[in-house]
Amino acid sequence: MFSRAYKTAVTLPPLVWVTAFLLMPYLLMFCYSFWSVSASQTIVHSWNLDNYRQLLQVDVYWQTLLRSMWIAARVTIFSLLLGYPLAYFLSFYAGKRKDLLYQFVIIPLWVSYLVRAYAWKTILGSEGVLNTLLQYAHLTRHPLEFLLYSPFAVVLTLTHIYTPFAFLPIYAALEHIPRNLVEASHDLGATPRQTFWKVIFPLSIPGVVAGATFAFVLSLGDFLAPLLLGGPSGIMISNIVVSLFGAAYNWPLGAAISLCMLLLVLGLLFCSERLEKKWSFS
């Protein structure tokens, strides 16, 4: 029913825009990663693999990448441990209060990321709320220094930020489980524990995979929480990229690291899509 002109009119403008402002920049990042910087701080457009060689040879790069993945993995696990039982509780036990409680999980999601990271900083600092509270209650005599400027602070803050992200798809998956399956399981004599592990949990796996992917990918690329709360031991891979694009002025090397991150993310998305398809029941 739609004419050729209509189809062109709705297809062409977004196609051109997306090509210019998404595809081109990604391709440019790809090109940059093969260029280099001269001694006089200009970009040399000669193609070589030096940046990638450096990534493999200089310890700090791949070690930081591994540490970032470890931080992201911890954030993912904690977000799931917090998000899954909460989603299960809301979906199966909250009754009439379900919708209200659901909104209460959503609200923090829309509170500015920066504001929440900052709030944790004011809580965890050596003069912060938690330390002064502990001393006020005579539980400690000196401020606990490990709370702020540590990987602990980064993991805690990112877990706080990504728990609702992990919760949402799990909740959606649980809500889509036909209730008569659960009833059938009860009727056939399964204990609640058996029903959970044999019926409910397997059906919720696609949601778990989606939530885990989100939490892992977004925390892997984070650079603001580590800058604000991480201290020297909490540096993540994006912080290295930021410094390469700033003071260290080595855009090509920064582009090479970014491209590795991009490929890692795309690979994860691909795997998670496959996993979700494999476990989906509809």
Binding site: F92, K121, V129, S258
Partner: protein, 284 residues
């Protein structure tokens, strides 16, 4: 039997789940509560118990020129980002719904990518584009960045609306002699009013809060999150708590508005989870 299951599933039968849920809610809301409480604390950001409650920080905030300049900048950026994101996101949704073309699958993935990609990658790739093309960084480059990244939100919201749209109305309009342009404005857009308004609200809020992409595209004028960021680096005062509290209240209003819109348009939709799911390409 149904009764039996219901009896099983009451709050009193699940003390551990209830306890866990309470703890998670406490964890989610603790920082927000602390933030708001200490915006009234005369003694500064830390220190327990809070002492000398005061409105002084709000008074300082309202007299703070640079903050309000950055608020104006952010409002402009957000408004322009809404225009760009809808201007390209609505046609993109129509294209994904109604046309077949070479590279459509790639196009769909590209449009949605900024939703799931860490902001640093989107920001840096655009920075390189502007650098190569000799574009000076300014609010305009931030607008282009936000607008482009948030096309994803407009497209997913409008595409979801299109799935529920009855095409017979558009067909009738075309049969009765209206041209495509008239049909678009008089039939398609009014039918998509709620997803479009919802998307606009969401894009506006997300743009107001955005920092990871802006971080790399900033020129001389700061947006509000970057102004706050700059001050955090210099040292912290309850003035930041005060401005954060105000942002929180505004976000809250926007969320409530958005939520009511969504519930009104589709009473049984999984509000919110849609965004997460669409990011991974579930609905499209």
């Amino acid at each position: 039997m149904e009764l039996l299951v219901k009896e099983n599933n009451t709050l009193s039968n699940s003390p551990w789940l209830l306890l866990h849920a309470s703890a998670v809610f406490a964890f989610l809301y603790l920082p927000i509560a602390v933030l708001i409480l200490y915006s009234f604390n005369g003694e500064g950001v830390g220190g327990f118990p809070p002492r000398h409650l005061t409105l002084g920080w709000y008074r300082i905030l309202f007299a703070d020129g640079p903050i309000w300049d950055s608020v104006l900048n952010s409002l402009q950026v957000a408004a322009a980002a809404v225009v760009i994101a809808l201007g390209f996101g609505v046609p993109a949704a129509l294209a994904l719904d109604r046309t077949q073309f070479f590279g459509k699958a790639l196009f769909r993935r590209l449009v949605l990518l900024p939703l799931i990609l860490p902001g640093i990658i989107t920001g840096l790739s655009l920075l390189m584009l502007f650098n190569v093309s000799g574009t000076k960084l300014s609010l305009l480059t931030i607008i282009l960045g936000h607008g482009t990244a948030l096309i994803s939100v407009a497209t997913t919201e409008v595409f979801a609306g299109l799935q529920k749209l009855d095409r017979a109305q558009e067909e009738a309009s075309l049969d009765l002699g209206a041209n495509y342009w008239q049909t678009f404005w008089r039939i398609t857009v009014p039918n998509l009013k709620l997803p479009i308004v919802g998307a606009a609200l969401l894009i506006f809020t997300l743009s107001m809060d955005e920092i990871a992409v802006s971080f790399f595209l900033i020129g001389r004028d700061n947006t509000l999150p970057l102004e706050i960021w700059g001050r955090l680096r210099r040292g912290i005062t309850p003035e930041i708590n005060a401005v954060s509290t105000i942002i929180f209240l505004f976000s809250l209003v926007a969320i409530v508005l958005w939520y009511r819109l969504r519930v009104r348009s589709e009473p049984d939709v999984d509000v919110g989870s849609e965004i997460v799911q669409t990011a991974e390409g579930h609905t499209i």
